[in-house]
Symmetry: C2
């Protein structure tokens, strides 16, 4: 059925091609967190589309689906935290990627809070940002935030968690 | 001297912290290419700040330093190509990261052209985009382009090239 749609729709064909290409594009795995002002509760999402924008000012970008709950929360609260995960934190991603596990996301004692925004002291790094600019493109909104705090764990012996080919990955030095 | 500046300047301290955090953020390595209309020549840059934006429409984002030659070329030409590199293409990155090697960048026979835009048929994937929206933030401009062509190589046995801790990296499955 998907193939039938694709053949008749150049945009669907392009999207299928881009999805295949993106499986080959490795990336880091982050938990982007914020405070949901409407629910007065922590909110978060697993994100792979996270990049630095500039060092002047120090700033980061995250692409967020406009239909997601986290999108509304970031938009309302105006601040978010990017928690870069290590390979020992893959299990955390499942609770943030499964709607049915929503209640378990912040139930562990791993989380700490800074001005009501949850962060993981055990992450490779936690980058707190204040939204400065946004841009909507199709299904997603880009939040560009200026960093106002950066916290880093002692990562001796730990590797950042990666995502590739639809699964978790580990990074190693190139021979 | 840098430390002295940092201690007196909260922004410089934040930038130093963000730079350290970014060393822990693994990512893919791409060569972003375009046609320089002013020079009537191919242009390109090595880029790590590349992400997918949306599948509706199929679109990609690249963050480009506004001082770079490639920035002016993309701005003028309005189209670019993201070539996702494999681990066998690390040597190509050097010519694109060193100003003195500018003339060597497109001198090899590896490059092919599509409507005057250079692309690498040997890349993991080549994603051709047409600029639809841009956003300036500090030193960088974000180019958001809708994909109009995606070409993929048979990558059997090949791995995508990564960048981490200031050096090349390889991705492997998480145990």
């Amino acid at each position: 059925m998907k193939d039938a749609i694709g053949e008749n729709d150049p945009q669907a064909l392009l999207a299928a091609g881009l999805r295949s290409a993106m499986r080959r594009m490795p990336g880091p795995v982050s938990l982007v967190t914020t405070h949901d002002d409407a629910l007065n509760a922590p909110a978060g999402m697993a994100a792979s589309a996270v990049i630095p924008v500039s060092m002047e000012p120090p700033s980061m970008l995250v692409a967020v689906n406009r239909q997601s709950r986290c999108h509304a929360a970031i938009e309302a609260h105006g601040r978010f935290c990017i928690n870069l995960l290590g390979t020992d934190q893959a299990r955390l991603v499942e609770t943030f990627s499964t709607a049915g596990l929503r209640d378990e996301r912040f139930s562990t004692s791993e989380w700490e809070y800074s001005d009501s925004i949850p962060f993981l002291p055990t992450a490779m790094a936690s980058i707190f940002c204040e939204v400065r600019t946004t841009l909507v493109h199709g299904t997603h909104e880009l939040f560009i935030g200026n960093a106002y705090d950066v916290r880093m764990r002692d990562t001796e012996g730990l590797d950042p968690l990666g995502w590739m080919e639809g699964g978790f990955a580990r990074f190693g030095a190139l021979d």
